[in-house]
Amino acid sequence: MEVTGSAKSGQIRALYREHRRWLTLFVQRRLGCPHSTADLVHDTYLRILASGVLPDSGDSRRYLAHIAKGLVVDRYRRHRIESTYLEYLRQQPEELFPSPENQVQTIEALVEVSLLLQRLPEKVRLALLLRQLEGLSYRDIAGRLQVSVSSVEKYVARALQGCMLAALGERH
């Protein structure tokens, strides 16, 4: 947040004053819940503050909408991962329950990995997961996906490339 000079923080204040009401309606239409909406509007401005990138004056709405939409998608993804994970936990014996901190760490890690994989086609994604989570050989993966062993290698290569591009793109 220290990246914002005084001129910038003035611009952000203006962005907040002029567009918050509109942005709140925009987000609420997508989320429904007023609490999450307030959070997400707040996060949108935080995101802009942290990136230090401000929109051109005529472009504010489009820019805010773009960032907010991205955050809405993230939120749905996280929610889906959280609820699938909790559902999984519920089927485990209580003695094996991880501590709350551990659960949060697991959810974070799952969100991170799913972000890397999100744009990959189903089989490409599965090929990498079967290798990395189940430790299967290419031959076994080929059997599981009903494709040739050479296709498995191509899928894995493509998945690795996709992950890497996703990871690099994300920082920008």
């Binding site: 699938t84 994970y85 559902e87 799952l110 189903e122 599965l126 599981r144 490339q161």
Partner: protein, 312 residues
């Protein structure tokens, strides 16, 4: 756009090499070629290191089993489908030739989210009511009518018809004989409750047929059947109600938590309490609140997904 000056081409090459070196068999000449590539350019080394670091993320998933459950739901579902194919005699070929990520086109899927209760009418007129968090696969054709319960619970009122009807769960088959009955998938067991008519039960790993008459229930594993007494309120869920008659609180909490996301805990001091009453399943927060009015307990929300019942 690509940061740190790495070109898309370098990233592609690094990915190709990693995929190659992970193969089941790697020739010595290939290893040498890789070493050569690695030393050819500073960027190659950089891309390789970054790719390796990225893979650490997969290894760092604290619980691989959880990773599988969350990131590969389709793979799991299909394993179950294959199990179904194995159970339902004579249909293996239908599934066997298909790739592992597709549903057979003749199968319809019906499902509910947590908290949802939904009626469905199949093409032959059979009525289903899907309870919370349920997934049912149905195949109706000229020769047979088959249902597979992937998870959850379903109430089935069969339409009359001469085509054989079969319900498969993980642990066995149920063939109804003109009936209304419910099937619920438990952890490694299946529960059947018969309200009208009769059903025949065949276990996945045991010979013989067991029949269950109206008014009776059974829980079965893949190789054994246990009878359990039926209770009045058993099918109240089809009317979106939970009816408890001197139900131990932990059991009540388990039942109610089927209809909400997250985790519900009962304090050890409360384990002995029993619940009697009719609770709505439409709003489980309200049901919990009502519970706290009749029993000496407090409902504490750590988060909306984590509820604890503690002594008041």
């Amino acid at each position: 756009m690509k940061s740190k000056g790495l070109s898309t081409e370098t990233i592609r090459q690094a990915s190709d090499w990693m995929a190659r070196l992970w193969a089941d068999e790697v020739a010595e000449s290939e290893r040498r070629a890789f070493q050569h590539w690695l030393e050819q350019h500073q960027d190659n080394k950089k891309a390789w290191l970054q790719l390796q670091q990225l893979q650490e993320k997969f290894k760092q998933l604290p619980d691989p089993e959880a990773g599988r459950a969350v990131l590969m739901p389709t793979a799991q579902r299909n394993r179950r489908l294959l199990l179904w194919a194995g159970l339902s005699l004579g249909v293996t070929t239908l599934f066997g030739s298909r790739n592992a990520t597709q549903h057979p086109s003749v199968t319809q899927t019906y499902f509910t989210e947590t908290g949802q209760i939904k009626p469905v009418i199949l093409s032959d007129g059979t009525e289903l009511i899907l309870n919370t968090n349920t997934r049912v696969y149905a195949r109706i054709d000229y020769h047979r009518r088959q249902l597979y319960l992937g998870k959850g619970e379903v109430m089935i009122t069969t339409a009359t018809g001469s085509r054989p009807f079969l319900v498969a769960s993980h642990e066995g088959h149920i063939s109804p004989l003109g009936t209304r009955f419910s099937v619920r998938q438990l952890n490694k067991q299946t529960q059947v409750r018969v309200y009208k008519g009769r059903v025949a039960l065949r276990l996945a790993q045991a010979a013989g047929v067991r029949e269950i008459d109206a008014g009776h229930s059974a829980v079965f594993s893949a190789n054994a059947v246990f009878s359990v007494p039926s209770q009045n309120g058993d099918h109240a869920w089809t009317h979106r109600r939970l009816v408890a008659t001197r139900m131990p609180l932990p059991q009540f909490a388990r039942e109610l938590s089927r209809y909400r996301n997250g985790i519900m805990r009962v304090h050890p001091q409360l384990q002995g309490l029993v619940v009697t009453g009719v609770f709505s399943l439409e709003n489980t927060d309200q049901a919990l609140h009502n519970l706290s009015q009749v029993l000496p307990l407090k409902v504490r929300y750590l988060t909306p997904y984590w509820v604890s019942l503690t002594p008041s």
